[in-house]
């Protein structure tokens, strides 16, 4: 079972049935099920989530990208600060990045007020955090490799040579 092909396929569409995955990879269904279990047990696959276009959902959803600068000391490293930030359910994504700031956070909340409150009351006061810059997401055009918007119609002839 070629795990890379399996991952490629799941990254494309994680809702395929085990039988259909097996057909596409030319493998048998038990082998696919076993490989999936292994990938999950080994912590390679951490979850399966829907890619949502929030523009098409009635309920309001506010997202922000937050840049965070920190100052390390002898006792505290990135890992430790990250663990503390990651525990907040409002934090959807947390990455350590190179460049002008240290952490990149994606925060989700019900309103702009809720999100800015969260940043100023939960993130900024962390002793190692020296600076935050909050960017509210105004629109999104592509998520997880999927272009949002109306998409293109298939305007090919229905039967052609």
């Amino acid at each position: 079972m070629d795990k890379q092909s399996l991952l490629d396929l799941l990254r494309h569409d994680a809702r395929e049935s085990v039988d259909d995955i097996a057909r596409q990879l030319g493998a048998d269904a038990e082998a696919v099920a076993a490989a999936l279990e292994e990938l999950e047990d080994d912590g390679v696959i951490r979850g399966y989530q829907a890619v949502v276009d929030w523009n098409n959902v009635d309920e309001e959803r506010v997202r922000a990208q937050v840049e965070v600068d920190v100052e390390l000391d002898r006792e505290t490293g990135y890992e430790e600060i990250a663990r503390r930030i990651a525990r907040f359910p409002e934090v959807a994504t947390l990455r350590l990045v190179s460049g002008d700031y240290d952490f990149f956070i994606e925060v989700e909340g019900e309103s702009m007020h809720a999100v800015s409150n969260f940043v100023s009351e939960r993130i900024a006061p962390i002793p190692e955090v020296t600076k935050t810059v909050t960017h509210f997401v105004m629109d999104s055009y592509k998520e997880e490799g999927i272009e949002l918007g109306d998409g293109d119609d298939d305007d090919r002839l229905s039967v052609s040579p």
Partner: protein, 383 residues
């Protein structure tokens, strides 16, 4: 005198396209899922499209040299070395308006009235009319399901192709998805040399092979000087509507084709040439990604057919599989399936002798539609 009375015999000799008839049937059905499409469901790679847009912004809207932009011919020359082909961009390559134009140029440059053009069948529907328009006499060479629709010297012999002047090849094949290995091509090459034929080898699907690398008859001993190779950007780069292809062959031969091309076409579309140049330079990854996607669908369709008991050989190229129609009547099956389940595919007999009793199923369609289409075919087969 009306134009109808003045119709040339050549045009009258060619019957209306069978695929056209099926297209019209399919157009009348609502919510049709089509597995009858002979072109990719992807769009051209974005880098290639932006190169076309850039060229327009820079005002690149004049003719190019008859044979195509020098840079593009150089990039093509470099590209085809991966198939073991070596052609000089100076006088051995011509860029054309789709590989279709290249095939037509070759018919007009190498077929004299009465010359016999051997055409393995089933095959792409343009070769027979093309040979007739050039004054040639098409000779169908049926290939067989037992041979997985590869061409054999025995099939050539049986059809009387030893008397032919020109042989057309198209592997990977539309409509069967068949491919030919180097060894199988060696046998055909030997027949071709023994009987002194010229070969027109349409290799438009060369990048869409799923089990092995492309092999070209032109790389066999003594074949380069008697072979024209056609290729293009439509299939691998999903650029059908940009109409860009090319032909490669020995210098005198390309000169002859260029003679027709310069009067009939002048030069291939300039915008498309810029797109093609960028495609060759930077779109290998996109091609590979599409190839992997086609391969997954191919396996899926073959597996579903096997499970529902539809006999189908393991097609290894292009984006078609070619199962047998359960009761042997491909037209009745295709019409019934369209009527009862709203799924369109193309009866094999449309593609000439040897195609009868089979169905061309294109998997250039997204997985969701493909899954639904397979469920419907299964329902139709088992009722």
């Amino acid at each position: 005198m009306t134009l109808g009375d003045q119709l040339s015999d050549r045009v009258e000799q060619v019957p209306p396209s069978g695929i056209r008839k099926f297209f019209e049937l399919a157009e009348e059905v609502d919510d049709v899922i089509s597995l009858g499409v002979g072109e990719p469901d992807f769009s051209a790679p974005w880098a290639a499209r932006t190169a076309a847009i850039d060229s327009l912004e820079r005002g690149k809207t004049s003719y190019t040299s008859n044979r195509g932009m020098r840079e593009l011919r150089e990039a093509i020359s470099e590209r085809v070395t991966r198939y073991g082909q070596e052609y000089d961009p100076e006088d051995e390559i011509i860029v054309t308006t789709g590989a279709s134009e290249a095939v037509d140029l070759a018919f007009r440059a190498f077929v004299n009235p009465g010359d016999v053009v051997a055409i393995p069948q089933p095959s792409y529907i343009s070769y027979t009319p093309g040979a007739i328009f050039a004054g040639g006499e098409p000779l169908p060479v049926p290939t067989r399901a037992e041979d997985e629709f590869t061409l054999t010297p025995e099939a050539l012999e049986a059809a009387g192709a030893d008397e032919a002047d020109v042989l057309v090849l198209c592997y990977p094949n539309n409509p069967t998805g068949a491919v030919m290995t180097d060894d199988e091509l060696a046998d055909v090459a030997s027949f071709v040399r023994d009987h002194d034929l010229v070969v027109l080898s349409d290799e438009i699907y060369s990048d869409l092979r799923y089990e092995d690398d492309h092999a070209s008859i032109a790389t066999h001993p003594g074949m380069r000087e008697r072979t024209i190779v056609f290729n293009g950007f439509s299939k691998a780069y999903a650029m059908t509507g940009l109409r860009l292809g090319y032909a490669m062959g020995p210098p005198g031969a390309i000169d002859a084709m260029n003679k027709v091309h310069q009067y009939a076409m002048l030069s291939a579309p300039t915008t498309a040439q810029y797109a093609a140049l960028e495609a060759l330079r930077s779109c290998d990854d996109s091609v590979e990604e599409m190839r992997r996607e086609y391969d997954r669908r191919r396996r899926f369709v073959l597996a579903r057919f096997e499970e529902m008991g539809l006999d189908c050989f393991e097609a290894k190229g292009a984006f078609y599989v070619f199962p047998e129609a359960p009761d042997g009547d491909d037209e009745a099956f295709a019409e019934g399936l369209l009527e009862e389940q709203n799924v369109a595919l193309v009866p094999g007999s449309v593609f000439g002798e040897g195609g009868a009793g089979h169905l061309r199923v294109s998997y250039a369609t997204g997985m969701r539609e493909l899954r639904e289409a397979m469920d419907r075919i299964e329902a139709y087969v088992s009722h």
